[in-house]
Point group: C2
Chain length 276, copies 2
């Protein structure tokens, strides 16, 4: 998908919601266990219910890999179903891979050809070599970890260099030269507003994928104030806040309602900050 294509989705749906498909077998409604592929059955129903409100979906590959080859199949079916229902939806494989050259090329092939997603999350630790093979694919994106929202993010991401620049700031300043804004976005945890401001200064035009709203405690209003740009420039993810609103027959309906509430807040914020 192009940069403008993504903005078009945001305008059309009045939303910058990304639904995180971190589908946990142990949290599935029990009646789904009778299905041949309960994980896919769950995802399909959640997709049907949330599609009017979401511009992106982000399956976390760990939740599928834990089931081995069968899990990989559930993931592939989920992505194929999304592509069929909504050819314009933006699909991110949250894989947090990070390898080099030869190997990174395999991952790019696995995700962009085999699975046919639009974007993959990558770790920056090994540098540019990790990213380059993914840039060979037209209209495909790398989502690079910059600032994460977990407790131990500070272990390394906040280490200051001689000029007082933190590692995540170095990651942004160095990596933004690797690719144009229509192939690179950043994972930025939304736990502190001042950091989001520091990020936006360095990458004013890039899309940011914000994982920390909902269960991880970021506030949507703060994220919008510091994160929105003229083309939206944000994808805000919610996983547990949407997926597990009910463990009954109405689980999908409740997921849809949760997504709708987020979309309504986003619509208000998109107007407030004159993106729409």
């Amino acid at each position: 998908m192009t940069y403008n294509g993504l903005f078009e989705q945001i305008r059309k749906k009045r939303s910058f919601l990304c639904v995180g498909l971190d589908t946990d077998f142990n949290k599935l409604p029990l009646f789904l266990l009778a299905e041949e592929d309960p994980v896919f059955a769950f995802n399909r129903a959640v997709i049907d219910a949330t599609l009017p409100y979401a511009v992106a979906y982000k399956p976390n590959t760990a939740f599928y890999e834990v089931h081995g080859a069968a899990g990989w199949d559930s993931l592939k079916k989920t992505i194929d179903y999304l592509r069929q229902k909504a050819p314009d939806i933006f699909i991110i494989a949250d894989a947090k891979r990070g390898d080099i050259g030869n190997t990174s090329g395999r991952y790019a092939n696995a995700f962009f050809n085999e699975l046919n997603v639009d974007a993959v999350t990558l770790s920056p630790y090994m540098g540019k070599d990790t990213v380059t093979p993914f840039l060979q694919y037209n209209e495909k994106w790398v989502v690079l970890l910059a600032l994460t929202s977990n407790a131990s993010a500070a272990d390394f991401q906040y280490i200051e260099d001689k000029n007082g620049k933190k590692l995540f700031e170095n990651v942004l300043e160095i990596s933004r030269e690797w690719a144009p804004v229509d192939q690179l976005m950043y994972v930025v945890g939304a736990t502190r507003a001042e950091e989001l401001e520091a990020v936006r200064q360095r990458v004013p035009h890039h899309f940011l994928l914000i994982p920390g709203v909902g269960a991880q405690g970021g506030s949507l209003d703060k994220v919008a104030r510091y994160g929105l740009n003229a083309r939206g420039g944000l994808l805000v993810n919610s996983s547990r806040g949407i997926l597990y609103q009910s463990s009954g027959k109405n689980f999908a309906e409740k997921a849809g309602e949760a997504a709708h509430r987020l979309q309504q807040q986003m619509h208000r914020l998109l107007k407030e900050y004159r993106v729409l």
Copy 2:
């Protein structure tokens, strides 16, 4: 496997060789394509030929994921075959994952329970949260990226903090507190001897996994001089230098010969540095 168990393997085989199973479908001998699972058939033959000389095997998951669910099956069959042929062999899933809490726990489950490997490579970027869930498993190991041997390793790993300490040195000093030496080892590229010395100063007792010998150009003698400790403390990987010595019917024999040559050098070095 325990720390002493790993040393026992090194003593028994007079080797610290790790065979990298980066099995590339496009480099397989053509006659193997008639097999039902050519990747597994190749791995099985390579394992049979190299097992007398190797203490560890390291499949790189990217080479399997690129084939989707079928690739995951080949990987599982390879690991099961290794376990059956050599219960004491050390198996590393070179997955370079790096996620947090909840998600990292899935990966630990996927690799330690589902695939039944001994160790997984992880990226340190997200900090301790990435590692902790893997430490719940008894006699299982984390192999943390510290210093990699690729060209762009310098992008971030060499960034100096206020005290002139490089990021990879900070990674070592901070992470060595997270786990005992029998659950944590480090990936250390072997391209420069002085860096290996800097690593050994900080983690004198840890095992180091050295990916850079052979195709990546590290010298085994230099690695041994600066890397060996009283318990060996090294696993030196070779992938392409073993796997693709011949594309004919004798591919496995040639792989065995390459492994044997490395084992002989290692035997000499283990004696020279009085590990044996």
